[in-house]
């Protein structure tokens, strides 16, 4: 696999998720303007912060006039799970120069990670492609970034004129299902999924997505704690 092929693989893998992300980007644009954020700042936030749920929260807190420390702390909590993605991809990126690490860290969203990780996990096992693995993550990261900017722009410019109740958001959980289900090849992985799912549902009402982070941690611990099958 050469860099162009790896980039294209990442880009193609993230495409189905753009279907689900686009409505969120449009709604973000609308919410940001309603919160009194000027159009230029609303657009800039999509590249400066570049984190869907954190941008929604930020827009709301700005609208409510919340103090800086609280707003910054809340944004940090909402994005906490990205530290786990960072730890997860770190070994694959270890050999890269710093400018690559900075670029890929900036692009490390839920969707970019989800799209690239099955390929990155495969790369770990057979090393011939390992040298190009970062291009896969760059492809999925860039695809999501570009889609997010366009969706935000559409939300800021056209706003409420766009239909937002088409149900396209459902593409996100469906794509995640398509990625996760084939990964479940052991009792430990099944247990990690079941515990994470149950905890995420039960804790969904917690503020700042803390329930989501706790659910992910619970899933990790459940997976490790599951005794390995002795044949």
């Amino acid at each position: 696999m050469n860099p162009a092929q790896a980039f294209s693989l990442g880009l193609r893998s993230v495409m189905p998720m753009l279907l689900g992300v686009a409505p969120f980007g449009v709604i973000y644009g609308v919410v940001a303007l309603q919160s009194g954020i000027p159009p230029l700042a609303a657009m800039a936030m999509s590249s400066i912060v570049f984190a869907g749920s954190a941008q929604f929260l930020l827009a709301q807190l700005v609208g409510a006039g919340a103090p800086l420390l609280l707003t910054a702390g809340a944004v940090g909590l909402v994005n906490l799970r990205h530290a786990l993605y960072s730890a997860s991809v770190a070994p694959v990126l270890a050999h890269l120069p710093r400018r690559w690490k900075i670029l890929l860290a900036y692009l490390l969203t839920d969707e970019a990670y989800a799209a690239a990780i099955p390929h990155l996990m495969a790369v770990n096992e057979n090393s011939p492609h390992a040298a190009q693995a970062h291009w896969i993550l760059f492809g999925s990261g860039f695809g999501l970034w570009a889609g997010w900017q366009l969706a935000t722009l559409a939300g800021v410019l056209l706003g409420a004129q766009l239909p937002s109740n088409l149900g396209l958001e459902f593409a996100l959980p469906l794509t995640f299902i398509a990625i996760v289900v084939p990964m479940i090849d052991s009792r430990a992985r099944l247990m990690a999924a079941l515990v994470a799912a149950a905890a995420a549902v039960v804790l969904a009402a917690m503020p700042y997505k803390l329930g989501l982070f706790i659910a992910v941690m619970a899933g990790l611990v459940a997976g490790v704690a599951m005794p390995r099958r002795v044949n």
Partner: protein
Amino acid sequence: MNLWWLMLVCGVITFGIRYSFIAAEGHYQPPTWFRRLLPFVPIAALTAIAAPELVLVQGEIMLGSGNPRLWAGLVAIIVAALWRNTLLTIACGFLALFLLQRS
């Protein structure tokens, strides 16, 4: 207060979180238990994000026939398990949702 400063602070925090372990790799020795957690990150994270989208309707757990997204999700899970094809899974999930919402 200056909105642009706030955005910059939030951008730096978000980037810092995403860069943390990527930057630290090679400069620290992660404990064994931590390394054993990592292979489960994709499964635990993506499942935790997706599950509430299927089960919750306006914040309430809804497992009955009044929740088409749950049943469409289960169709997608079965299709994904049988055929391991991303586009097929998404297409069947949307088709199931469409049919269930019409009935």
